[in-house]
Amino acid sequence: MKSFHIGGVHPAENKLSAGSPIREAALPRQAVFSMFQHIGAPAKPVVQKGDTVKVGTLLAEAGGFVSAPVYSSVSGKVNKIDAVVDASGTRRMAVIVDVEGDEWEETIDRSKSLVRLSDRPDLDSKTIVEKIKNAGIVGMGGATFPCHVKLTPPPGSKAECVIINAVECEPYLTADHRLMLEHPEEILVGVDLIMKAVNVTKGYIGIENNKPDAIRLMTEKAKQYPGIEVVPLKVKYPQGGEKQLIDAVIGRQVPAPPAIPINVGAVVQNVGTAYAIYEAVMKNKPLIDRVITVTGKSVRNPSNLLARLGTPFQQLIDECGGLPEDTGKVIGGGPMMGKALLSLDVPMTKGSSGLLIMNKKEARRAEPQPCIRCAKCVSACPMGLEPYLLSKLASMEEWETAEKNDIVSCIECGSCQFTCPSNRPLLDMIRVGKTTVMGIIRNRAAAKK
């Protein structure tokens, strides 16, 4: 069975909520829409305090090409535009809406009927990308890179195939798994749309082998969609990493930055993104909700919720049986790459794929011990880096040497730290080093100009 070739680890899967169907979360009383729900320039608010908005009303427009607009997921009145603490732990601009009723914009098609690409011959690649751009769709796997940017290949490069990331390699998370089981056809139409947008005829859907039901269902349904192939993959973390997935599915290696996947002819999109693209293009529905997994060993009722963006995390936890008493940490995202939250008042955003509640025992990080030079981190690193060295270089502030050792290639997957028998905080330091070195590179480029 296929998989990527360098490094990787296999954490306990713990897919507690895999059997629980997606259910709709209740409307929040107040929804908070951060202007920083994507990578790139922040969105610019176009509403004012006191404005009445409906579900699907534009709240903020894109702040540049690498940016995305934000739409209201609720109807009501704009309470204020103010800085609030978001999932990043910093205080940033957001539009806060007091919810009244549930009124939708009339342009949105709320019917459940399936619209295939063959039903809409008027759609050409430009219109599709334009619709995706206007709907504010970003990478839903958690990276939140504006979707239309990836679908607009830079001059001189040509896409050869589309790869759909349905790997969901993060332990605990099951949102993509449930989405495939419940909306397979919509996803496949979404893939068709992406293929049409970048003018290719080949699409792959990479699914890890721990979801046999999804592989079976998708393979069967894909028979009606020529060009789309489901690729079962061996379970290994971080297979959902863009570069790892390309290696696993088509066997090509993306060179070190500044090279991007399009340089090897691949366009990678998350399965959740494909679903959102279907809704945006065929149903005129901007990105206003998403599936989020709320899970944890002590959670009474681990679930997959279809929740409106801007809903506070506290409410989502309440829907799943409330915050357990022995909670030690609440993580936004999966256990490997997610970030511990400072507060539960933080609203969910376009990139919120999961909410993991760890009990006190799980949450405690073990005391770091001296490095024993076992080189487990080196064998685990999926990018072929030397994590022990990079972490040391970062703590010694040897930025030049760190740059020479390709610290910017790090995808921050955490495999090194996971595998370290001495519990060393490798990624903590590497992250500091990566941010600093990237800053140095940016300054150098700016100075050259």
């Binding site: 511990a340 703590s395 903590d428 500091v432």
Partner: protein
Amino acid sequence: MNVILIAVIVLGVIGLVSALVLYFISHKFAVHEDPRIAQVSEVLPQANCGGCGYPGCSGFAAACVKAADAGSLEGKLCPVGGQPVMEQVAGILGMAAVASAPKVAVVRCNGTCENRPRNAEFDGAVSCRVKNMTGMGDTGCPYGCLGCGDCVSKCQFGAISMDAETGLPVVDEEKCTACGACAKACPRSIIEIRLKGPKGRRVVVLCNNKDKGAIANKACKASCIGCGKCVKTCEKFQAITLENNLAYIDAEKCKMCRKCEEACPKGAIHGFNFPPRKPKAEEPAVQSTDNTPNQNVEPSKAE
């Protein structure tokens, strides 16, 4: 016998030829270094801390010699050696020493465990830089001291240490050389290299919080809320500016009247090394102990 003789002669000739080549090369490619650089270097403290802004002591020595040739030692200061060393340097170079005011590192945060409650627990790597990447850190203040001691580990002179009770770094003014290593190490730029002031007396806003008043107030009991009361009391000297909801006292303009300290509703402004305040009735006595002219003038005007 013959073999030994040949060996000796051959080696001797090779040695002679190499010596000639080396002699020639050493003359032809000799690098002339100003002898004064070595002399200046000798009197410098050899801490190689970089506090002067040059790479190490020899770099600073070269810069001093260059500056002396240009005519003035203005702006050249070894913060570690201070005025005595600079006088020695000036002597070697045959220049007059430029007077410079001594400086000291000031930790502009008073977010003690008591003033600024912890609302989270940080269990990552013990490093301010790592902690700073979590956003807020473990308190509600995104501008305050993170307390992991990056500054302590960077100080070569043992002048800064963590106070376990307050969770804040404390600067030993005797040992501090104002080299600035701690200020550079702080990811939140809390530490400022500031004029030490006459008799070590200075008035500083001990806060770095640029949030709006209500938010800053909630995060920390001792935060600057940007109310601007201090700015009003200092209208005469214009030493205090308010920018981004944060007051800043210009050390060069400050006349040490300490009125702002009294005016601050949050107690964010602190005077360092002033004699303890006496009760109001005995205020004239305070004046007599002070010989700074402004302090003699100020209280009488206030009354």
